[in-house]
Symmetry: C2
DNA sequence: CTCACTAAATGAATGACGTTCATTTAGATT
DNA sequence: AATCTAAATGAACGTCATTCATTTAGTGAG
């Protein structure tokens, strides 16, 4: 669970900083290789042996730098978090910035579903890119007038929607096909058959846009309501 | 992936319906045992061997009734879907019904996180309770005036939020502790420190209520806007 | 009543996988 | 040149899901 590559020297710096003698591995190398592996062959291929092979190293060597596979996932997660676009919070109005951030966030992690439990359940401690992302978002909310007591709740609410939407992107087209149960669920069957969205987006985008617009509008109203 | 216990006899019913000669197992037994196992010992304990042991049967026997562990998870998922309370759609106004349904839905699956990928990614085909749940919800939306073209998107948007919120319920209390990175993320650190919600709920409930109220209000407004 | 049929259960085996640990290696320090 | 130390090795373990040839036990046909 510990991600810091080395503890901060407490008193006098005896031993020189930097990587040890003949090290082949480090967090950077592991992260890069894991990311490449996942990008090329998917999460099924992200095994400790496969990762070790990609690094020309024995599987057990990884455990000198990482305490578990969860740690590897956390490294990858943090790296990806740096790809979430928070730039709109710098110069765009709050509503638009939230929309752009949320879409970028969803797009990044819809391609990395297995990381969602990692983001959602593991402390951000020592995940620098993740913390940086949250800071930019928080700053945007504060400057839009959100009280600091409520910012985190608003961000968490949006994030929850984003994670769920990331799953939805990966749902098969026939996920709502009722099969032999069509007759016991007439309303649902009909609604599925008639599903249509104004703009010609795919189903996942239609639901995402509808929900995002609704939540952003609702949050804006809630903010305005409390003066 | 096939969940039907036997194919529907196509032409003349030669063989009598019902369970074969000396069968010990069936979908019902497997589902019940799996549910009990999970309830008592968590998802870590839900292994094919453990399940078989609970049923006094060899692990391989399970594969006569289920084609993979995913199938077992789908059985459990469908059973749990029957616990989601949709009764409010029968007699309460839409806004209140959605709120009660959403909370019930979140509460059921926040105790069964490993099932979320199953619900979110697997077709509902042959999952009767799941289809029934969707039908009740769809009916409620239609009677509230939602056009059948948009009902599914609205439900999917709410579901996405619900799944994400189910994760949030299980997040550790210190998930946002920035650790050594506090100084590089001053806004975020401050917002986390000052996080407070009016009603004395826990953090997950505060974010859930904020997001749910926002989305429900936003959806209501969107519905009204399109005449 | 008996035989043949069939679905279900068995038990041994397989191949991934994450992880541990005693041992060795190789560069830096004294 | 001797020593110290972090990193790498390779063998081993235990846990899984899954497979397959074989056996078991009811059922219906004759």
């Amino acid at each position: 669970m510990i991600l810091s590559e080395r503890a901060v020297p407490v008193k006098p710096v005896r031993r020189r900083a930097g990587r040890p003698p003949h090290a082949l591995l480090g967090h950077a190398q592991i992260t890069k290789a894991a990311l490449a592996l996942v990008t090329r062959h998917g999460y099924k291929a992200l095994t400790m042996s496969g990762l070790a092979k990609a690094l020309n190293v024995a599987p057990s060597a990884l455990y000198n730098h990482v305490s578990s596979k969860q740690d590897v996932l956390l490294l990858v997660e943090d790296a990806l978090m740096g790809r979430v676009d928070v730039s709109a919070f710098a110069d765009k109005p709050w509503e638009e910035a939230v929309r752009l951030w949320a879409r970028s966030y969803r797009d990044v992690f819809s391609a990395h579903l297995p990381l969602i439990p990692v983001i959602a359940l593991l402390p951000v401690t020592n995940a620098p890119q993740t913390v940086k992302m949250y800071d930019a978002v928080t700053d945007g909310f504060l400057r839009a007038g959100w009280p600091k007591e409520r910012v985190v709740d608003a961000v968490v609410a949006l994030e929850s929607f984003i994670y769920g939407s990331a799953y939805d992107v990966n749902a098969p087209a026939d996920i709502f096909a009722p099969g032999e149960l069509a007759d016991v669920a007439p309303h649902f069957t009909s609604a599925v058959a008639h599903r249509r969205n104004p703009s010609g987006h795919n189903d996942a985008d239609a639901a995402f846009n509808l929900g995002l617009d609704a939540m952003v509008a609702g949050l804006e109203a809630a903010l305005a309501a409390q003066h």
